[in-house]
């Protein structure tokens, strides 16, 4: 039995498992054709390594210079302090301050007057309006009138008028 060049390449690169590696190692001791094939593979590797050493190039200083030049052009990382400082720019700070001021004005009781709630009770409005309407019933018939303020006479008048209108429409 002989090993092929691919297997011997793997053996050369130490890419085989320990058992297979040991088997091939023992085989190469006694098999001349496989040994010759292995030596050929090893000589290719030696040739490549020697040629690589002979053709080794120095690191050109121009690369370093160009890298630093490019690095200077890159956007630099921004620190947390810089980010905080950026918030003080007028373009951001003024609108933020205005919004905060509105929130404080609306949200904190007592800051803008007597401390009374801003709204007016609905019953007050209704009663006020009913008083006006009772002084001059023709001023605005469409407005809401509390039941307590409406007397029977007004109600019957309204009903009669509606009946008359609907009767004439028929």
């Amino acid at each position: 039995m002989h090993y092929n060049a691919d297997t011997l390449d793997d053996y050369l690169h130490g890419a085989l498992g320990p058992e297979r590696d040991a088997t091939i190692h023992a085989h190469l001791e006694s098999c001349a054709p496989c040994r010759a094939l292995y030596d050929e593979a090893a000589s290719v590797r030696d040739w490549l390594q020697n040629a690589a050493r002979a053709e080794e190039l120095e690191f050109p200083s121009i690369i370093k210079a160009r890298v630093w030049e490019r690095v200077r052009e890159l956007p630099q990382p921004v620190s947390f302090a810089d980010r905080l400082r950026a918030l003080w720019r007028p373009m951001i700070a003024v609108p933020v301050a205005a919004v905060l001021a509105v929130f404080v004005y609306v949200g904190v009781p007592g800051i803008h007057g007597s401390g009374q709630p801003a709204g007016v009770a609905a019953t007050y409005l209704l009663e006020e309006h009913a008083a006006v309407a009772s002084d001059n019933p023709l001023a605005d018939r469409g407005l809401i009138v509390p039941a307590s303020m409406v007397d029977d006479q007004q109600t019957s008048g309204l009903i009669d008028a509606g009946d008359t209108a609907s009767a004439s429409g028929r």
Binding site: A5, D9, S43, F59, I63, V67
Partner: protein, 190 residues
């Protein structure tokens, strides 16, 4: 092998120190690796420069204690592959198959300066000529396995492929090189 250590806090001052040390310690190896992949100095310079820019931008992702060279070789390999794809798109050229020998070489220079191309071709030694017979993938695997002496596993990680792919590329590449090297050795003896 010492590697640049990542400092605990990442201000830009430390990024520049990291880059400085990386170029100082690994600039030459990276440049030579790029040269063997591209086959000419002009492209090797561009590739190395771009790789170190990437190192600067991504230095925080480097894992202390791991091999810096493996990391930057992976960057160089990816950049080279991307560049070849761009070139392919630009000129509608096909990247040769793994086992296809190439007349002008898979190392067809990326540089467009004809004088530089000519000089690179004239100055190329036996290794550069031998590598130019191989496809890009074969060249990468030969350089990593035979010259840099990485294991198949490490090569697979650098190239982003399976160990089986590494093995098959290496076998094909070595079959091509074996004939050439034997001829070179016979010429040297005669």
């Amino acid at each position: 092998m010492g590697v640049p250590r990542k400092p605990p806090e990442p201000p830009s001052q430390e990024a520049t120190e990291f880059l400085e040390r990386a170029m100082e310690q690994y600039g030459k190896a990276t440049y030579n690796f790029a040269y063997r992949l591209t086959g000419n100095e002009a492209d090797a310079r561009d590739l190395t420069q771009e790789a170190f820019i990437r190192v600067y931008r991504a230095w925080r992702s480097f894992q202390p204690g791991t091999s810096f060279l493996s990391w930057i070789y992976r960057i160089v390999t990816n950049l080279h592959r991307d560049e070849l794809r761009r070139q392919k798109g630009r000129f509608q050229e096909e990247i040769p198959e793994d086992n296809a020998p190439q007349e002008y070489g898979g190392s067809k220079p990326l540089a467009v300066d004809p004088v530089e191309d000519y000089m690179a071709e004239q100055l190329g030694g036996p290794l550069a000529k031998a590598l130019s017979l191989l496809s890009t993938d074969q060249r990468q695997v030969i350089v990593l396995a035979d010259i840099e002496e990485y294991s198949y596993q490490e090569i697979a990680e650098i190239m982003g492929c399976s160990i089986g792919t590494v093995r098959s590329r290496l076998h094909r590449a070595r079959a091509l090189l074996r004939r050439l090297v034997i001829r070179e050795q016979q010429q040297a003896q005669s």
